[in-house]
Symmetry: C2
Subunit: 413 residues, 2 copies
């Protein structure tokens, strides 16, 4: 027996960990068989994950996937990070869209470096392989494309939800859009992936990979999707474009503050998806909170520290916690603050209507009087006496203080 | 002025000839403008025609298109014959179909040579350029394919009749099938075609070429389609697979005989589409036949001689005519023979029922008696006395003689 070859945990134990928090697993019996074979032959599985290098900033939402990758690594498997540089370099090939300009080779390399640095906060550098799909897609000739495209039908491609909706509504789908899922599938063929991981919204594309691998005479990959993390608003998925995200590279203080702003409900979701806390540990903590033996704010601080520690280390987490307490105390904020939602409207809100709507004042005239008396604070800053409107953007959360004791945290939709 | 440059006929005269016998012309005003420009600059138009080199035998149906190409040549324009070797070399890229095996490089070159030899019976060798589309399609990389495929939408592709039918009926369309019309359109981009000619069933594909050229910033080609020639049966289009064709390389005697077998109605159609007879000349001949001053058989002999002459020269045509008269006289065939249609059924017909059905005998028993007496001929051969059934195939035409004077020509459906 090769002493250098790795040994693996019993398959049942591996499966138990890998299944955790997964939305779809196609198919579990195949994963079981692959793990059995891997263990018997002492050869790690090849786990593939694709990333689009158009936006270089990773956020907490991406870490759900990264954490699942890390689990595979910790179990001894090999993770290949496929940077989709090929399509990024092309942009919109019709040249009609200005919103999707092609990226230069240099930009992509730069983005890939940024990605790598950010990913390695979660992943094990020793078990992470990074590949660029231009490596094989650039040289794919028309004959190769025809062969690839012959493996899938128009009708099945139109089953993909976004295609179906657009087709049914008479909105146009350009033919090259059908080639992108096939290109992603071809990545799996080239890498002979055992497993492909992705977000829940990627299920269709990952399943195309299964069919195309089979058509190329390979054993189909197992497909595993993880949930899309809700953003700080607890409603929409975390995304830079919704402004409801926690960036991996944000300063510790910023990350901690953002985590402290989320609802209690969302806190449990983040614990589940963004920390190593076991299901048992989570249940226990929830019970303590229900029993009033643990204040939810303490639980939230714990979450904030865990997340800061993941990205910046334990020390930074400790400092972020202390700094938060200091500012918090200095501002005289109470332990709990009522949370509200309010429409962002056209980007400006009329302050008297807002304050009255939140129940902080009893009338518009009271509100105006308090503003004139410099008794209204917005995120810790006193509003100027002549303030009537404040600019807000959808997705932002602001802290409002009226007089000495009235507080509200408002999330603008 | 460049004395070496060609001069062209006035545009109105060119248009008058080119429009003749055309099914669709998209768009006439564009063709007019292109001809004006060509004449003013003394530069010929580039006329593109694509041929699929899977079956090397051209038949009379193909010559309708070749004759239109020849008209362009006679008017001084440049015809490019695009051999679709690229897709022929690939066959069915999914590898599932046994009916469409890929052709080897050698086979394709051989087919192309055969094509060329056959085409040059009609075309002017000096003005015929032959190109293989693998020249530019082979080197088209994935990026180029994506750019090409981005120029056309799924919904518009599904408007093509055969795609639409299959899609509506739930029959599968593989995605690479969408790439073939685009590849053909790309040929036009590369060759900067002014005009593309094709059969009436090619209209959709030729129109894709217009759109794709525009997307590549080129002036769209004018599209011109010619009718599909009916086969010898006068019903289905002429095709090798229906067995109702006149091959360009068939011996003169064979061609002449086949032409003599067609109906009078079809004769006029062939005169129109397969000879240089002017519309006025055709009208005149038809009038003579109507007035009883020209026997239709004479008109048919004229057609047969013209067609044989096109493929084998005047001398061969004369010999074919004479040989036919000799055999005809020797067999004692009358000037006119009744024509019938009869179902081919399962590939065998019961002779007594056939003869009775055609009115050649008054009963099944009379038919059987005549067969026993060796008084029934099938295509000039006496049927054996014990014959009860004869094998026939759909699309075939046979001459039956009963006794001394009863004749029938039967087309089996």
């Amino acid at each position: 027996m090769d002493e250098a070859a790795p040994s693996f945990l019993p398959v049942a134990q591996q499966l138990e960990r890998l299944r955790r928090g997964v939305v779809e697993l196609v198919r579990e019996e195949e994963l079981h068989a692959k793990l059995e074979r891997s263990r018997a032959s002492r050869r790690p599985l090849t786990v593939k994950v694709g990333f689009d290098p158009t936006a270089p900033d990773l956020h907490l939402g991406h870490t759900v996937l990264l954490r699942k990758m890390r689990q595979f690594q910790d179990l001894g498997h090999r993770v290949i990070f496929v940077v989709g540089d090929f399509t990024a370099r092309i942009g919109d090939p019709s040249g009609r869209s200005e919103t999707r300009p092609p990226l230069s080779e240099e930009q992509i390399l730069q983005h890939a470096e940024t990605y790598k640095a950010q990913c390695l906060k979660i992943l094990d550098p020793q078990r992470t392989e990074i590949r660029f799909n231009s490596e094989w897609l650039k040289g794919l000739d028309f004959e190769g494309v025809l062969r690839l495209a012959s493996q899938y039908t128009v009708a099945r491609m139109l089953e993909r939800k976004d295609f179906k909706t657009r087709f049914d509504e008479g909105r146009s789908i350009a033919i090259h859009e059908f080639l992108y899922p096939l290109a992603q599938a071809y990545d799996s063929v080239v890498l002979r992936a055992d497993v492909e991981l992705g977000g829940a919204d990627q299920l269709f594309n990952l399943l195309v990979g299964r069919d195309v691998m089979a058509a190329y005479g390979l054993e189909p990959q197992v497909v595993m999707t993880v949930p899309l993390l809700e953003g700080l608003d607890g409603v929409q998925k975390m995304s830079k474009s919704f402004g409801n995200y926690v960036g991996i590279t944000e300063p510790p203080q910023e990350i901690f503050g953002k985590i402290m702003s989320i609802s209690d409900e969302l806190m449990w979701r983040y614990y589940e998806l963004c920390t190593d806390l076991s299901p048992e540990g989570l249940a226990q903590m929830q019970q303590l909170v229900r029993q009033g033996r643990l204040h939810p704010k303490r639980a939230k601080e714990g979450l904030g520290m865990r997340i800061v520690a993941d990205f910046h280390g334990e020390q930074a987490a400790q400092r972020a916690y202390e700094e938060f307490q200091r500012v918090f105390a200095a501002k005289g904020l109470p332990e709990t603050i009522a949370e509200h939602r309010y429409p962002a409207g056209e980007g400006r809100v009329f302050v008297p209507r807002l304050l009255a709507g939140l129940g902080l004042v009893s009338s518009h005239s009271e509100a105006m009087r308090l503003v004139r008396q410099r008794a209204v604070e917005w995120d810790g800053e006193v509003l100027a006496p002549d303030t009537r409107e404040v600019e807000v953007r959808s997705g932002e959360t602001h802290l409002i203080k009226v007089g000495k004791r009235r507080f509200a945290r408002v999330h603008f939709d």
